[in-house]
């Protein structure tokens, strides 16, 4: 999925979608929330929440189940397997980025980016 360690999943890395994914993954696997309860736990407006849920659903991170509670239609939202592992990856990368480097002399992202191409280009460069 993500290539470099600093490449945080852009689908999760916004405040709204991060909070949605945090909320849904805080529940046990296989659990879902009704739309109103999710909305209350996020202090979100319905429209705003729907927009972000659609993006997460398109990515396969979130699953929306439309059903009926008696005659009233009810929507339930839950994190999918893919969504849970994407969130776990995101958190793993976040922890890695927040952990101070053990060896201060080791190259950081900036130098790694400049030295990396040097290892691949010489073969083509002689001419």
């Amino acid at each position: 999925m993500a290539g470099t360690p600093g490449d945080l999943d852009p689908l999760i890395h916004t405040q709204a979608r991060l909070r949605i994914m945090t909320t849904l993954t805080a529940l046990p696997d296989g659990s879902r929330l009704t739309f109103p309860r999710l909305q209350a736990l996020l202090d979100a407006t319905a429209g705003n929440l729907s927009t972000h849920l659609r993006k997460l659903e398109d990515a396969g991170y979130v699953e929306t189940i439309k059903g009926h509670q008696g005659r009233v239609p009810s929507t339930q939202v839950g994190a999918t397997r893919a969504g849970r592992s994407a969130f776990e990856n995101y958190m793993t990368q976040l922890r890695a980025l927040l952990t101070p480097p053990q060896d201060l002399t080791s190259p950081d992202d900036g130098t790694a980016a400049t030295t990396a191409p040097a290892t691949t280009t010489p073969a083509q460069e002689p001419r």
């Binding site: 945080l8 852009p10 890395h13 405040q15 991060l18 909070r19 529940l27 659990s31 396969g60 927040l98």
Partner: protein
């Protein structure tokens, strides 16, 4: 994945062919500071857990108080020379009122915490709830059946005490097994054991055993849960980034 590979980490790199304006007009698509992200996740996880978690302290606490005071009142009414005079009818009303109150506290607490939660665990909880409902409907009907047979108050009291306590112990143990809750299982095993002892002791002092060992055990269960929760709340020494629940 529909994730646009050209946009990474929120350090807004506009897609070459895309519009230069942010594609989402929402303020929350601003790049996020990483330390802020960790705090955000931790705060939201805490909020979700606090809002959806069924708190054993509330349930064990309510039933513990009901048992300690209720069984004590029943014992006072049953012994020949009580330290405090307690009419039989008053003891019965006190116990009944306390049990109904504990039932209301339990129902309201669980309904609030699990509102809007659906799926596997919710279904498990619902089935478990039905086990309690039907078992205690049976206990209530049993009292009625015994009354119709003109059973003595001692017989009714003994049967009610032993059957209801055995059901509580058994269902706590089952709940512990279902949710992998060792503390809950231990409490159930304790209550079942206390009930066995109470049955051997017999009337009227079985009521005292149930008050202190049974009700007291529940209050200890509530206290143990409190300690366990406090220990979990203590921030880990290594880093303060939240962990993902599995």
């Amino acid at each position: 994945m529909t994730a646009d590979p050209t946009r990474s980490t929120g350090r807004t790199t506009p897609a070459p062919d895309g519009p230069t304006l942010p594609d989402d007009a929402l303020a929350d698509d601003e790049p996020l500071d990483l330390a802020q992200v960790a705090a955000l996740v931790a705060a939201q996880q805490d909020r979700v857990r606090a809002a959806t978690d069924v708190d054993g302290r509330v349930l064990y606490g309510a039933w513990g108080v009901a048992w300690v005071i209720g069984f004590l009142a029943m014992w006072l009414a049953a012994v020949d020379d009580p330290p405090v005079q307690m009419p039989q009818i008053a003891a019965g009303l006190i116990f009944f009122g306390l049990l109904v109150s504990a039932g209301v506290v339990t129902a309201v607490h669980i309904a609030r915490r699990t509102a809007g939660v659906r799926g596997t665990s919710a279904t498990q909880g619902e089935m478990y709830g039905w086990a309690w409902m039907l078992s205690f409907t049976g206990v209530g009907v049993l009292a009625f059946a015994l009354g119709r047979l003109d059973a003595s108050p001692e017989v009714v009291s003994t049967v009610m005490t032993v059957t209801s306590s055995l059901i509580v112990g058994a269902l706590y143990m089952v709940g512990g097994a279902v949710w992998g809750d060792r503390a809950g299982f231990r409490l159930g095993a304790w209550i079942s054991s206390v009930t066995v002892v109470a049955a051997v002791v017999g009337q009227p002092h079985m009521l005292l055993v149930m008050a202190f060992a049974g009700g007291g055990g529940m209050l200890l269960g509530a206290a143990a849960e409190h300690v366990q929760r406090r220990r979990r709340e203590v921030p880990p020494t290594q880093g303060d980034t939240p962990t993902v629940a599995r």
